[in-house]
Symmetry: C2
Subunit: 376 residues, 2 copies
């Protein structure tokens, strides 16, 4: 007979409208046998070590239909990305003792029947928590969003909102490695300092202290003399050669945003549109400012997409997991060599998970928010 143990779980009470609260989730204790039931082919039973708090989870707290993710089930444990140790397995690819990352439950032990979304952890010299972040879903998001969607080139100008978050901090470092000029926005002085000192951003600002986001972006992206150059550039029938000439004329300081990595939405997107360069690209990764609003803010400056020939493209990491091995091969050496940094904000214990998740939406976290459930 398999050992039966108690199993603390974080359960969603009911669908959420508006701003989520800690009390929307409740801690329950049930029990679980540490063995995969006989009728569960290909399933694994895991002990959860780290859980990941990610902004997309807000959508799953609402009653949604026909979206790319399911709603959470009220009365059942929340699910999300995590790192776990395999306790028992009926799956040929996973054996007892293996470390995995992927979709698991917000509980101490989980029976995972959908194993297609699990990755075996190969590199254990790297902190395991990193597989909720830089080496997990957020890292893959940053990689495919920047390299596959943004079409970045050396010397281009990059702006990142929510830049100190799980994804943003990596996008900025990828862009610096490529030789871009990189500015980020974040929601506190500490985060702004982190962007400049730890992640090597060229500059950063606290969006909460900027009454005029358009003016803030102009400070970092529009050089003096811009109006003369940019107006000339934006005339009818401008050729790419004349654009190149103007870039070389104006290469001391940038004169607009080539790439915007969109995590914020709302007013920030509208301000960015006014400051994009011709032929710019916007990778839409998230719009966290809008997730808790009953009615979303409208983007009023979309006509800029036309006048500036901007490509705005939404993406989901799920379409890019086939690139995970390529991404991992690139980023693991960079981590080992200290060429890339990752800041985490790790809450202690499953009990702290609801507050950690809610904290994402007020920006309480500094860096990637995760929860440690057990130290092995």
């Amino acid at each position: 007979m398999a050992e039966e143990v108690s199993n603390k779980q974080i359960v969603l009470k009911d669908y959420v409208k508006g701003y989520p609260k800690e009390s929307d989730m409740v801690l329950k204790t049930s029990s679980i046998k540490l063995k995969v039931p006989e009728d569960c082919h290909d399933a694994v039973l895991v002990k959860n070590l780290y859980l990941s708090c990610d902004p997309y989870m807000r959508n799953r707290m609402s009653k949604i239909e026909g979206s790319y993710v399911d709603s959470f089930t009220p009365g059942s444990p929340i699910t999300g990305y995590g790192v776990a140790r395999v306790v028992d397995s009926c799956h040929p690819n996973f054996k007892k003792g293996d470390l995995i990352w992927g979709i698991t439950g917000w509980e101490e032990y989980s029976l995972i029947k959908s194993t297609e979304g699990l990755f075996k952890i190969q590199h254990t010299d790297i902190p395991l928590s990193y597989y909720t972040g830089i080496l997990g879903m957020p890292g893959t998001t940053a990689y495919c969003g920047f390299y596959e969607v943004c079409s970045p080139k050396e010397g281009e100008t990059v702006f990142i909102s929510a830049a100190s978050g799980a994804v943003g901090q990596l996008v900025g470092q990828f862009a610096k490695l490529l030789g871009c000029y990189v500015v980020g926005s974040a929601g506190s002085k500490d985060k702004v300092d982190l962007l400049k000192s730890k992640f090597g951003f060229d500059d950063a600002f606290n969006y909460k202290e900027e009454p005029d986001l358009n003016a803030a972006l102009k400070r970092y992206f529009i050089k003096k003399g811009w109006s003369r150059l940019a107006c000339r550039e934006r005339k009818l029938r401008t050729t790419s050669s004349s654009r190149d000439n103007e870039r070389s004329l104006g290469n001391v300081l940038p004169d607009g945003i080539d790439i915007y990595f969109e995590n914020a939405g709302g007013k920030m997107l509208d301000a960015v549109l006014l400051n994009m360069r011709n032929h710019g690209r916007i990778a839409a990764c998230g719009m966290i400012s809008q997730y808790n609003l009953e009615e979303t803010e409208g983007a009023r400056n979309l006509f800029c997409l036309i006048t500036k020939r901007i490509r705005m493209e939404g993406f989901l990491v799920f379409d890019y997991y086939h690139l995970y091995p390529k991404f991992s091969d690139m980023v693991v050496p960079l981590i080992r060599q200290g060429k890339i940094s990752y800041v985490e904000d790790i809450a202690q214990g499953l009990e702290s998970a609801p507050a950690a998740l809610i904290g994402l939406f007020s920006g309480r976290n500094v860096g990637k928010q995760a929860v440690v459930v057990a130290h092995e």
Copy 2:
């Protein structure tokens, strides 16, 4: 001595705010010598035959800075696309008697100093007015917007707003030639009839009679049983092969919009976003519903760009004129063989030009709006 003749002109009185009126323009009569002045190297002097009324001209009536076009100059004749006969030339590529299309003045005779934007008309068995439309800027716009920006594939579903206009009617016919399912919106019963009978659209509707644009689009693009199929499709980690399977399961009727050719903006864009398929494409060509608003409407459903992985891309025809010969080689035979139709709305005489231009914004025109200034 060159002959001096009187020259009627349409002059912009002052910069326009909000909805433009006929009285914002005034007819003046000046005089002009029918000879290129000696200090104007490479200039041509032309007799204008047709003038083109295009929505983008609204922007030029405002005081704008740093955009892709200049404002018109108050007190001077309006400029725009037209068809003209060369009366005198100092340019090696154009000789007296040549027919050209390109940027000219809203007047009987124009001295054109910027000749880079002029195209010599090669095919004179085709109505000359077509060079303001199907064989001019709007035709090239439709061609590059559809083939270069939309990445269309046979069997895809296409929605076009302002579909009976100078650009939309062509996009729809290109899409039908490729084997797409095509629906258009327009602003009157006559235009809707035209889309279905003349241009071969699969369906069409009058947006002015639809209190709920989302519901209207669902009528044409969402099949019964959609929710089951589309929900399955939109789940996490859908692979392209499973998408293809679902498409083949559901190929009797469409289940969303693959391609939206955006001419309208505002509420229509918001409704379209709700009805796009995963991996859809939006070519942003114009947003005519917004041009006369002091404050634009906001697009509230942009989060769909992310959940459905949509690419929305603005474009300007000026970036694609190098494709004009390729476009012309394709479309001229189609016109001659009667495989493509083009409906024009031609106002008589320069005096009627202001009303014709203003009419675009209330949708008074049926098809491409042009003005005949002289029949040779």
